[in-house]
Symmetry: C2
Subunit: 201 residues, 2 copies
DNA sequence: TTGTCGGCCGATCGCCGACAA
DNA sequence: TTGTCGGCGATCGGCCGACAA
């Protein structure tokens, strides 16, 4: 997924550490978000927090619900790599994503937007900056998406309260993302981490 | 699932051994029907056929596709229980299901039946013996299901060539089953057998 | 500027008898 | 007896401007 679109859908609350940054991994916190929490009293030798390096990040979206989630690979650090003062230190998130103001716009769908018998009322700013073509009608005039919008709403099963994100990328492509009001809780489809294989490395 | 309805949907080709009967279990054949075939050359000590007793049978249908499948629990027999002549012997299927002629009827859907703009033409025998109420019209007169039929076709995603089964149980209930033309191959949704846990018992 | 409403027109759904196999 | 067809009326989807917040 395009990282810009991903961040636009995830919202500002979702901060992702840059690649190669150092972070703490909390096994118990991870386990509590997984399907089955692990009782760590059985594993007293596992440290509650493990310094790691972020070796890779995948920006993904659920193929069914289109909800965005991220997959990060963490490599535990050796004892001599754990220097906190090292290049910004642990836990430091770079905020360079916010510097570049992307050409994106989000709107929460109104009742009229989500009605199956209507179009999508496009806010003026979005219409002027993001949209290539749309209907401009009514008295007073307003910007509207009509043909095709209903199909999109039905296919994605959108309801009033859900949000839609429009993003114009640097090379001119128009991307669309959605953000549902009823979040499915838990981060992603299933939390499929490698408890059984690589976690002990 | 009602065993009668299950058998009506599965068809005469699907024969299920009665509970407590003795059967041979073929690990390799089972494995070949599973998602991943197991290379049994790695396990030379596993017998190619294992005498078992059928300890339980569940008649089930896939919650999504409504395709019927059965789940059987097999208990391996001890050496002294393996007498072939014992109560009918191994591999003997009781055919008592066919004795009782159930009040059921199956029909393969025609193009007209599956069209979204129409009803279901009910064969005369089915109309007279199974159905409680239906439309009787046209010149010449014929038996038809109209209102509600389209919804059923759409919900179950039925197409021409699929079959529908009507069954009147002994206590008067009317059951409906379907049988798709495009079989999803493999028996059931996913072959979830206990390769990892109980297979060695 | 934009959310909601009622009107209206066309497309589709779904019930019908006619006909023929 | 029953599969297919064309027709038709009712319903629904979807685009419209009016109006008000």
């Amino acid at each position: 997924l395009d990282p810009q679109l991903w961040h636009a859908c995830a919202g500002g609350m979702a901060q992702i550490p840059p690649i190669n940054s150092k972070v703490y991994y909390f096994p118990q916190g991870h386990s509590e978000h997984a399907n089955k929490a692990v009782d760590f009293h059985e594993f007293p030798r596992i440290s509650p927090l493990i310094p790691c390096r972020v070796s890779s990040i995948s920006y993904l979206a659920d193929s069914e619900t289109d909800e965005v989630y991220a997959k990060m690979r963490l490599v535990p650090l050796g004892r001599n790599e754990c220097d906190v003062d090292d290049e910004g230190g642990l836990m430091g998130f770079s905020k360079n994503e916010e510097k570049e103001k992307p050409n994106s716009f989000a709107k929460t769908l109104t009742q009229s937007d989500a009605n199956n018998g209507g179009g999508f009322s496009v806010p003026r700013y979005c219409a002027e900056t993001i949209f290539p073509r749309h209907i401009y009608r009514g008295t007073p005039r307003r910007h509207l998406l009509t043909t095709g919008w209903s199909n999109f709403v039905n296919q994605k099963k959108l309801v009033a309260g859900d949000s839609i994100v429009f993003l114009r990328t640097e090379n001119g492509d128009l991307c669309v993302g959605i953000q549902r009001a009823k979040t499915g809780i838990s981060g992603g489809p299933e939390v499929v981490s490698g408890w059984s294989t690589g976690a002990a490395n």
